[in-house]
């Protein structure tokens, strides 16, 4: 008996078997240029004055690229940390707890950072 590839592609028992694997690679590829942008932004603004940072993020291209780098980075790191957890944390309830905390931490970082970038960019 043969299983048609179309009916198994991307579907394990949980129906999203390969999503994390795929998104991990996709964000990795996107982060090659985006992390370079982020590094340049930080090198230029790391020791700058408050006004300079505000001015840099008032530029829409700069703000959107920094926000994109943060979002892609957090999505990427959330999956990476889950892989580490799955490798080293065995047995319930710790494995589940660690994965949930990983989600919360990642969500917190992305929400807080994007709020900051948006506020600075909109000049509020």
């Amino acid at each position: 008996m043969r299983t048609p590839l179309s009916s198994v592609r991307g579907r394990g028992s949980a129906k999203f078997g390969t999503d994390d694997y795929w998104v991990q690679r996709l964000t990795a590829a996107v982060l090659v240029p985006l992390s370079v942008v982020l590094i340049i932004f930080l090198v230029r603004n790391g020791a700058a004055s408050h006004a300079t940072v505000r001015e840099a993020l008032a530029n829409p291209i700069c703000a959107v690229l920094v926000a994109a780098a943060i979002i892609a980075g957090v999505v990427h790191m959330r999956i990476g940390m889950q892989v580490i957890i799955e490798d080293y944390v065995h047995g319930q309830p710790w494995s589940v707890l660690a994965i949930v905390l990983n989600w919360f931490f990642s969500a917190l970082i992305v929400l807080a950072s994007i709020w900051a970038v948006a506020k600075l960019s909109f000049g509020m």
Partner: protein, 136 residues
């Protein structure tokens, strides 16, 4: 850990698959481990990035405090480590993407790519900091 696992399996000592301590270290192995460690460091390092951005968003006073903390010698040391982790993980990531396409698996290119990871990441990080100080 092996004994506790054996007990969990009903008190029978079962053979375990070989792990790190069995193998002699190789370039690909060490760079794979460093990739994971730098990844985990970057994970927690996002707290610094988020803090710095939030302090800027809150106002000049909070931003001055953040600049003072991150600009201290210990702050700079942590940031230098963070920069290196990012550069190293970035170059390592490109290596893994190349491997994902099934390229460079022969011994020579495989070793070359792994060595290149550390050979490039250290001087690139130093260069970044020189540039950062130069434009200040």
């Amino acid at each position: 850990m092996s004994t506790s696992k054996a007990k969990a399996a009903g008190g029978v000592e079962r053979p375990l698959s070989p792990h790190l301590q069995i193998y002699a270290p190789s370039w690909t192995m060490v760079m794979s481990i460093v990739h994971r460690i730098t990844g985990a460091a970057l994970y927690f390092g996002t707290i610094l990035l988020a803090y710095w951005l939030i302090s800027a968003a809150v106002g000049p006073k909070a931003f001055a405090t953040a600049q003072w903390i991150l600009g201290s010698w210990i702050g700079r040391l942590v940031l230098f480590g963070y920069t290196w982790a990012l550069v190293h993980h970035l170059i390592g990531g490109i290596r893994f993407l190349i491997w994902d396409f099934g390229r460079c698996f022969d011994e020579k290119p495989r070793l070359m790519l792994s060595k290149l990871n550390i050979v490039l990441s250290v001087p690139l990080t130093v260069l970044l900091w020189i540039v950062a100080y130069a434009i200040k």
